[in-house]
């Protein structure tokens, strides 16, 4: 898909950045920038960067000193989003900078050169410096161009662009922006939105397996009782995914025979889902609001509010991990599942072991995730030497990426186990139907991971489940069956 985006410094939308993160390419053009009040600070080199005369000869020596070009690479799309954010700020200041820098970025983007930033950059400044090196065509920086990773020097040569000489103003401008933490935050926002929806699907699948009560998802409890908008949405998603389900009815509970009298209430990890998932979504939405503002306003030097919202979101996502891990746990106990086989063993229990160790791995991953929940903002300080405020947003943003990767695995285990539970319950109630959405989730999942009847190597199934959650495959199957989830 090739779509052209005309930026004027105030019209960039998260949707376009999400699309780039999905691997789509945009061509860009520029409109006359909407110059607001020019903030002088943006064109003042921060004191810690002012070079002594001997070490810096040309402006590009500054990013050469501060960039860290080693280690693993962040995804090329994260680099591209960073570049677009830089462009969106650049167009506002062509009156001061001239149009050279903007033209350079436009050529970079339109020729499909993706700057790749190394994970070893631990600060915004060093990441922005590496972005500057990439754009210049420096030999130490990396780019993705024409299907492969090459040095930036080679990329610009192959693309016929040649190297770029920065002016002092341009380097000052770039090192005063926060595009890379913002880009990482946009990535985390997108992932978090995907996982929040996936978590709702997990609950729906879990309800099918345990023939759960649906009363806790009654819209009146949420719309009238405790009307937090995201609580309402989470309950609605789950109702939609299980729509048409016969397993979540009294008829199935009786037919299966695992119940002894009315349930009255399911466990909290099921019935507090709208409140908990909704609360998590509130933090994701808050980050989104802050980012919608940030991608056009473009903070200078520090962007603490983005950091606070990322820190809060990580805490909330950890709680999403907490509640998912408990739902997986219940599936291992025949009493808690109202009669599913102990440990979800397919055939010949005792000889075959089932899922207890798989479940415990969700607990283990959750333990790691909790370690990431300590907010980075708690460590910000005034640097004793430079006397500058040290903003922790870039660190928070990197950490969010790690936390999301762990949460994805916790949810993948719930998908793996609920799919097994659904197949086992269906074994006994062959005439009953799953909901349209849950059926789509199970069918898609089973194309890739087969039901477990006997002992088999667990890790490949888990890795595959992780991939299916990460790539949004299960989510896409559900959405193609019942329409987009909110």
């Amino acid at each position: 898909m090739r779509t052209k985006l005309y930026l004027d410094g105030s019209n960039l939308e998260l949707g376009a950045l999400f699309s780039i993160l999905e691997g789509n390419h945009y061509e860009v053009g520029t409109l006359e920038g909407t110059v607001g009040q020019v903030e002088e600070e943006l064109f003042m080199l921060r004191e810690s960067l002012v070079p002594d005369e001997e070490s810096v000869v040309t402006p590009i020596d500054i990013p050469r000193v501060f960039a860290e070009c080693s280690g693993e690479l962040l995804s090329k799309e994260i680099g591209m989003v960073g570049l677009l954010l830089l462009l969106n700020q650049g167009v506002k200041y062509t009156g001061i900078l001239g149009s050279r820098l903007v033209d350079r970025i436009v050529s970079f983007v339109n020729k499909g050169i993706y700057p790749c930033i190394h994970e070893n950059n631990r600060t915004e400044l060093s990441a922005m410096c590496e972005l500057a090196l990439s754009l210049a065509g420096d030999e130490n920086a990396r780019c993705f161009y024409n299907g492969g990773y090459v040095s930036s020097e080679k990329a610009v040569e192959d693309a016929g662009l040649g190297k770029y000489q920065y002016s002092n103003e341009e380097i000052t401008f770039i090192t005063n922006l926060c595009c890379m933490s913002t880009s990482l935050a946009v990535y985390s926002l997108k992932e978090a939105e995907k996982l929040a929806k996936t978590a709702d699907i997990c609950v729906a699948m879990n309800l099918e397996a345990i023939r759960g009560e649906t009363g806790a998802f009654d819209k009146r409890l949420h719309e009238l009782g405790r009307p937090y908008p995201n609580q309402i949405i989470s309950a609605e998603n789950i109702r939609r995914v299980i729509d048409g389900s016969e397993f979540t009815t009294e008829k199935a509970r009786i037919a299966y025979g695992g119940d002894h009298g009315p349930r009255c209430q399911d466990a909290i990890c099921i019935r507090a889902v709208p409140q908990t998932h909704g609360g998590v979504r509130d933090t994701v939405e808050w980050l989104k609001k802050n980012l919608q503002e940030e991608i056009n306003s473009g903070s200078h030097r520090i962007n603490p509010a983005i950091g606070y919202s990322i820190d809060l979101m990580i805490i909330a996502l950890t709680d999403l991990g907490n509640i998912s891990e408990r739902r997986s746990f219940r599936l291992t106990d025949t009493n808690l599942t109202y009669g599913l086989p102990m440990n979800l063993v397919g055939d010949n229990p005792g000889f075959n072991h089932g899922f207890p160790v798989i479940q415990a791995s969700a607990t283990a991953v959750l333990g790691e995730m909790k370690l990431l929940s300590m907010p980075c903002a708690a460590y910000s300080n005034i640097d004793p030497i430079s006397k500058e405020y040290v903003c922790m947003t870039y660190t928070s943003a990197l950490k969010a990426k790690a936390a999301l990767s762990l949460l994805e695995k916790i949810l993948a285990i719930e998908v793996l186990m609920t799919a097994q539970g659904m197949d086992l319950v269906k074994d006994k109630l062959t005439d009953f139907h799953f909901g349209i959405g849950t059926n789509a989730a199970l069918t898609e999942f089973r194309k890739n991971v087969k039901v477990t009847r006997a002992n088999r190597f667990a890790a490949p199934d888990m890795v595959e489940a992780d991939r299916l959650v990460r790539e949004g495959t299960v989510l896409a199957a559900v959405e193609s069956a019942i329409g987009k989830l909110k």
Binding site: A267, I268, A272, Q275, S299, Y308, I314, M374, A378, Y389
Partner: protein, 424 residues
């Protein structure tokens, strides 16, 4: 004295803070709220007649005893004992202003009508509030997935049970005696559903959260006065201060928005919703879960920690000018670290309880307590700063600035008298 009416939809942090101080006059139930409650309560009466269906929490036991059916007569007897096993608590006693605020907040929630209690219960709670009587509540033992312990202790006071204690006119006494002296009925028979409707949900967490928010806003105002007086020297200006403060105020807006929202939600079980024929249907859910409040209390702590960095920097810049400041400087540095330690999020943890039936808890109660402690530490930090500034030659020479700082110091000191989680 004028009246202030609550209806379950409009209570704010500011209202609660003002009402506790008596600034809103007498708090009353709004007429439309009373009407809503009467109508939903009529349905409960019908369910208590002969041959009524079994409705959880109406004519059954609670929790695992949900299958035990109770007659209306049993229910009245049962209501006199069922708060006891829920009334867990250890440690110190919660600040009476907070437990009294909790009565008001819960009365407001019940005004929404979905909980189907009698308006008389709401009036009883408001009578106690208006009389300045505060339940004695032991502080430890709530996960925040319902403050069962604290709220059962509070419900014991509302009912006037023998063991219940309250604070009245600064003294801790038997609740019944307080009621007699204040001209209220010593006992109040809680009827069907009215115990659960007081205990289910996290109103003590909410009361603590409101106090934390209110005090923090007041401290921010005070801090602006310090800045206005002191910001005449370059040495007072710390890099990025305005930007970070703006980000903190912006983020505090999110905290306040959530806490204000939570004031006006129905948080107990079952809730009664009207169906077409004028009848009501009971629906079980988990609105006692106040995840959002736990999250924003953790956030509040983070914001305080950020603020504290700047105050600490100021303290170390101005506090290095004499041996007499050394103690204040070290105290300040220590308080900042303690505030940071409180940033360890409560909400990222959960431990299953009650035989795995309540297998996800918020720890929001702990989050709110921790935020309140951070606010108190922040108050101490501001005091250290002002004392250091007042002892510095630069500020001593300018009389109007010195007087300004002196005024601020008095405000901080007077606030630290009230700013506490526990009763002394």
């Amino acid at each position: 004295m004028r009246n202030y009416y609550i209806d379950g939809y409009n209570l704010t942090i500011k209202d609660v803070a003002a009402a506790v101080k008596g600034e809103l006059g007498t708090i009353c139930i709004a007429a439309e709220a009373e009407e809503r409650c009467r109508r939903s309560r009529d349905q409960i009466r019908k369910w208590l007649e002969k041959d009524a269906p079994v409705v959880y929490g109406v004519n059954t036991g609670l929790g695992n005893l949900k299958d035990t059916v109770l007659s209306p007569e049993d229910h009245l007897r049962w209501n006199r004992t069922i708060p006891y096993p829920h009334a867990v608590g250890m440690g110190g006693v919660i600040n009476p202003d907070i437990t009294r605020a909790s009565l008001l907040i819960r009365a407001n929630v019940l005004c929404r009508g979905y909980s189907a209690v009698r308006p008389e219960l709401i009036k009883r709670m408001l009578d106690i509030f208006n009389a300045g009587i505060s339940p004695v509540v032991l502080e430890l033992g709530s996960t925040g997935l319902s403050d069962l312990g604290p709220l059962a202790q509070s419900a014991m006071v509302v009912a006037g049970l023998n063991e219940a204690e309250a604070f009245y006119k600064g003294e801790r006494r038997k609740a019944k005696d307080c009621f007699r002296e204040a001209g209220l009925e010593p006992e109040f028979q809680l009827e069907c559903k009215e115990v659960l409707a007081q205990m289910n949900g996290s109103t003590m967490t909410q009361a603590i959260a409101i106090f934390a928010c209110d005090y923090m806003q007041r401290l921010l105002d005070i801090e602006k006065q310090i800045d206005a007086a002191a910001d005449i020297y370059d040495n007072y200006r710390v890099d990025s201060r305005e930007k970070v403060y703006a980000a903190i105020e912006h983020s505090l807006g999110f905290v306040l928005e959530v806490v204000d929202f939570e004031n006006n939600v129905s948080c107990d079980n079952p809730l009664l919703f009207e169906v077409d024929n004028g009848e009501y249907e009971p629906v079980m859910g988990c609105n006692c879960s106040n995840t959002q409040v736990g999250f924003v209390m953790d956030l509040l702590n983070i914001l305080i920690s950020e603020k504290a960095n700047f105050i600490c920097e100021m303290i170390s810049r101005w506090g290095n000018k004499g041996y007499g400041f050394e103690k204040l400087r070290l105290q300040g540095a220590s308080m900042v670290k303690e505030i940071r330690a409180h940033c360890l999020p409560a909400s990222a943890d959960s431990i299953p309880t009650k035989g795995n039936q309540e297998d996800h808890v918020e720890f929001s109660y702990g989050a709110a307590r921790k935020a309140m402690k951070a606010v108190k530490l922040y108050n101490g930090l501001l005091l250290s700063l002002v004392e250091i500034l007042m002892g510095t030659e630069e500020y001593k020479v300018n009389e109007s600035i010195y007087c300004g700082l002196h005024d601020v110091k008095e405000k901080i000191e007077s606030m630290s008298m009230d700013l506490k989680l526990e009763h002394d």
